[in-house]
């Protein structure tokens, strides 16, 4: 066995050679003990131990999983295909399986349990916005592993028990610290109204990009899939004032809508009325003209006949008119000599005094 000691480093070992030498040694042992008795038992036990040891190297890679392998501390290409695999057991080799396709989730500013209830974490959630207000932001980071070797071997991390993150996985404090730093940086660049209502998506995209950038500087092997703002609100202490603004905005819009409804009600009515008035006037005009034309035509017609025999017609018309008028009225016919006539009582009691024969 030739191991390098100092000088140029040599990481690769000839395992065939090692195993060959072990076999040779065992062969010599067996011969020494005369090929039987206790020697055989010892050899058998050693072989058995060896087999069990080798057998413990069998492991399963599930769908969506990858296995990172180390041999004497040296990183190998990860196993990416699911199925039954074998790798050197400890202490010669190490294997670590991680699910890489599965999207993992980290909550910031709150903790939800399996029952779905949410408990806020104020110290994580409260932050200063660009207009020096305080805003309460709850966020979820979704991520997965894009490089399992980088994920496992590049960054130290104390892990996080509450999220079941193992020690040495950068999805623990590393991701959390970076997410907080990124989110607070982005929130600090925007006014509270941008964060609360106007530009949530912008905050999400920016935070995601910055977080990815930080995680890439650490070569953490983590891909940030998305950053989602959950509950974004004003802090408890001033929430009623923020709610009142929303209410006031609603009230304003309601009043405007009501006024518009009023407008929409009266204007068409007025227009209808106007149309009616104009039509009535038009009708009046046309009727008036039509009547005038009729009257004029009638007059013209009569006049042409009247012109033929003026005297007779005039007399006839007069008498006919009198015939029409006089039968219905009370008549008092006075002698031209009488100076006055005394009428007693009102219209009802008036009794005409006959004078001569009635017509």
């Amino acid at each position: 066995m030739a191991f390098p000691s100092g000088g140029p480093r040599q990481n690769e070992l000839n395992f065939d050679q090692i195993i060959g030498q072990i076999q040779q040694g065992l062969g010599r042992l067996t011969r020494r003990f005369g090929g039987g008795g206790i020697g055989v038992i010892i050899v058998a036990i050693l072989i058995l131990i060896g087999l069990v040891w080798l057998g413990s190297g069998i492991y399963q890679v599930g769908p969506g999983e990858q296995a990172a392998r180390r041999l004497f501390g040296v990183v190998q290409n990860p196993i990416t295909d699911p199925g039954l695999q074998w790798w050197w057991p400890s202490p010669v080799g190490h294997k670590d399986k991680e699910s890489v396709t599965q999207t993992r989730r980290m909550e910031l500013g709150f903790i939800s349990n399996e029952a779905g209830s949410v408990s806020p974490r104020g110290e994580e959630a409260l932050m200063i916005s660009g207009d020096l207000n305080i805003v309460d932001v709850q966020m979820v980071v979704q991520y997965n592993i894009k490089d399992i070797n980088a994920f496992l071997f590049n960054v130290d991390d104390p892990g996080e028990e509450t999220r079941a993150v193992m020690v040495g996985r950068p999805e623990g404090r590393t991701l959390k610290d970076a997410a907080e730093a990124a989110l607070r940086l982005v929130v600090g660049q925007r006014s509270i109204d941008d964060i609360l209502v106007r530009n949530r998506e912008d905050v999400e995209v920016n935070t995601r990009d910055r977080l990815q950038q930080i995680m890439d500087t650490y070569h953490s092997g983590i891909a940030v899939v998305s950053v989602q703002l959950q509950d974004v609100k004003a802090p408890e202490e001033v929430r009623d004032a923020f709610d009142d603004v929303l209410r006031a905005r609603q009230e304003r819009d309601t009043r405007i809508n009501q006024a518009r409804a009023f407008e929409a009600d009266i204007i068409p009515r007025a227009e209808g009325d106007a149309e009616r008035i104009k039509e009535a006037a038009q009708a009046f005009k046309q009727a008036r003209i039509a009547r005038a034309i009729g009257e004029a035509d009638r007059f013209n017609a009569i006049l042409s006949e009247y012109a033929n025999s003026k005297e007779v017609t005039r007399q006839r018309l007069y008498l006919e008119a009198m015939e029409e008028v006089l039968p219905d009225v009370n008549k008092i016919i006075l002698s031209p000599e009488s100076q006055s006539v005394l009428i007693l009582g009102g219209d009802e009691t008036l009794k005409p005094v006959p004078f001569g024969p009635t017509p």
Partner: protein
């Protein structure tokens, strides 16, 4: 039997020697090989290595990116107002020999580097105002007045001043670390949180509340204003529409009457006397009824034959 025991001893002894002579350097580690306390060699590449058994000992250092979490510290800004800043840094041990000499352990590094990061950050923060630390800038128009949005809130633009501060801090810490020859490389310094001190928070809330109350009042007043405006305009429009209609109506009626008068006058003017006669007759027919009493003179032309059948004109 005796030889068996000897062989067993030899095997066990050789195992112990092998165990002591062989060591594995993991990909996440780097080691120092010490002989009697003196650094004899370093191994920064992973693999299986051999050392002199029993006399050589190894010290393992992490090769990964390591974390320093500085505690939150109140730092005064340019205007002597405190912000509680919680920062963290990342570093890597690049020279384990120097690291062991100066900082010795990760724990030592944590407190030492934490102090350096905090004090460098404090120096930089003291040169900046609040907005620069938070990373925004109040917008002003060309006259220097603060710009406001439609709700009367001041507008802000995001700026990269926080990143600038952190870059300065990173450079500063790098400088210190190099001067002190700690054998480490600083990778990143970040402000995790920058918060108002607890003593200031109530006054911030008071300000936020006042600001919101102002906006709410403004909204309500705007609602009132718009309401009145829209109704006034609507009423005016209605009145104008109706008045215009009246105007048109009177014009039409007038035109109709004028036309009628003209038409009739044209006709009647052919013989005003006849018209007057005929129209009078019509009028008598129209206004004389049963309730009326007519006093007639017996010598009216109507009655010329009444008393004198032989009369003639």
């Amino acid at each position: 039997m005796k030889s068996l025991i000897i062989i067993a001893i030899i095997i066990i002894a050789s195992l112990i020697v092998t165990r002591s002579a062989l060591y594995i350097v993991d990909v996440t580690e780097q080691v120092l090989i010490l002989r009697f306390g003196e650094v004899r060699d370093t191994r920064t590449n992973p693999g299986l290595y051999l050392k002199a058994p029993f006399i050589d000992t190894i010290i393992t250092f992490d090769k990964r990116i390591l974390r320093i979490d500085a505690p939150p510290v109140a730092m005064p800004d340019k205007e002597k107002q405190n912000l509680v800043i919680d920062s963290y840094a990342r570093y890597r041990i690049v020279d384990p020999v120097q690291f062991r000499k100066t900082l010795q352990t990760e724990t030592g590094a944590r407190s030492r580097l934490g102090d350096i990061v905090t004090s460098t950050l404090r120096d930089r923060v003291a040169l900046r105002d609040r907005f620069e630390i938070i990373g925004s800038e109040p917008l002003v128009d060309e006259f220097g007045n603060p710009e406001e949005d439609s709700e009367g809130l001041p507008l802000f633009a995001g700026v990269e001043t926080r990143s600038d501060i952190l870059q300065e801090v990173l450079d500063g810490v790098k400088n210190t670390v190099e001067t002190q020859n700690f054998g480490i490389a600083i990778i990143d310094v970040r402000i995790k949180r920058a918060d108002f001190p607890d003593s200031v928070t109530p006054s911030i809330y008071t300000r936020m509340r006042a600001e919101r109350n102002r906006i709410a009042t403004k909204f309500r007043a705007e609602g009132e204003e718009e309401d009145l405006k829209i109704r006034a305009v609507a009423n005016r429009n209605r009145d104008v529409i109706l008045a215009n209609a009246d105007q048109a109506s009177n014009q039409l009626r007038g035109a109709g009457e004028a036309e009628a008068i003209r038409i009739l006058a044209d006709a009647l003017n052919q013989d005003p006397d006849f018209f007057s006669f005929r129209r009078s007759l019509e009028a008598y027919q129209a206004f004389l009824g049963q309730q009326d009493t007519v006093v007639l003179s017996a010598d009216a032309p109507l009655f010329q034959y009444l008393t004198n059948p032989t009369a003639s004109k």
